[in-house]
Amino acid sequence: MSTYCEPIRPTDWHEQEEDSWYEINTFEIRTEIRLQQALSVALAEVATEPSVVDASLEAKFAEHAEKWQVETAHISSPTQKMMHPSYQAILGMGKAVVPLLLRDLQRHRRSWFGALSYITKENPISRSDAGKMDKMIEAWVTWGRKAGLL
């Protein structure tokens, strides 16, 4: 039977304990540091994610917009133009696509008026300017600037 015996010096036990405590804590600290580093890397990735999404959204939008323009250039009916699969895909992108629509309206003068009204539920075009491209673009660009989207 082993009996409990007191350490020779009271400090012996404590020193040992202190060493192991130190090792364990060092291990924990290292692990924590590693976890923190991993977390910061993950957070950094998450932080950069929106721009990645934006870039892909922009690329998708550009692709659909180009396809839509090429395939409906001869169509006059806004209803027929809106029925094109690419237009439908753009409508499905939701509010995130509004700044892209406004920018494209300015640069390429593509008719996104229906999509803009549908997504934003707004109509900044005055009745007297109905159908006039320059005036309609100006009205939407002004609206976009006021809304902080341009």
Binding site: E71, T72, A73, H74, I75, S76, S77, P78, T79, Q80, K81, M83, H84, R109, S111, F113, G114, S117, N123, I125, S126, R127, D129, A130, G131, K132, M133, D134, M136
Partner: protein, 195 residues
């Protein structure tokens, strides 16, 4: 924004890609590439804005009728063009003293396009969407699949006509001459190197 002049061969190839039947007939380009107006406006002799039935929720297009319902049917277009002096007609050939327009529609009755007969009967003038104005000899050369949804004109469904006098009162002849004059000078300026 000024109209865009595409090289003739590029414009012709592009337009024929949408209307393959044009490659078998004679047709000519009558204007630059312009997104500011389209076929319905051009059928009404206007080049300043786009015409199409609208419920006035977006003002994306202009329509002379203040109609709360978007009526894209043949009767809706006939009613609107009656404001410009047009009446229904059965003949599509040239008649001295009359100006005619043709309405294209799909099987479901949805109007897709309009063409206006040349004042002197040289053919039909069309403005396909944002592309160049074209003068084609017959109405069939730009017809398409009537069962299509978004990519075709369907068939000619209705002819309307009005007297030359009504066209003169409507200042159609004046507007068309001005349009042709502008195009002539643009072309000339382009050849000389000003544009």
């Amino acid at each position: 924004m000024p109209p865009q002049f595409r090289p003739s061969n590029v414009a012709r190839a592009n337009i024929e890609s949408y209307f393959p039947a044009l490659s078998n007939v004679n047709w000519i380009i009558k204007s630059p590439y312009d997104v500011d107006y389209q076929c319905i406006a051009w059928a009404a002799c206007r080049t300043d804005r786009k015409w199409w039935p609208t419920d006035n929720t977006t003002f994306e297009v202009y329509w002379p009728f203040d109609d709360p319902i978007v009526d894209e049917s043949i009767s809706g277009f006939t009613k609107a063009f009656s404001l410009l002096g047009y009446k229904s007609c059965d003949r599509r050939d040239f008649e001295i003293g009359y100006q005619k327009v043709a309405i294209y529609a799909l099987n479901n009755g949805q109007v897709t396009h309009m063409a206006r007969q040349h004042f002197c009967g040289r053919g039909w003038l069309s403005k396909p969407g944002e592309l160049e104005d074209i003068l084609h000899r017959d109405l069939e050369s730009i017809e398409g699949d009537p069962a299509a949804t978004w990519n075709g004109y369907g068939k000619v469904a209705q002819i309307l006509k009005r007297s030359w006098l009504a066209a003169l009162f409507n200042r159609c002849l004046l507007r068309c001459l001005w349009h042709a004059f502008k195009f002539f000078w643009y072309r000339l300026a382009q050849k000389v190197g000003f544009v």
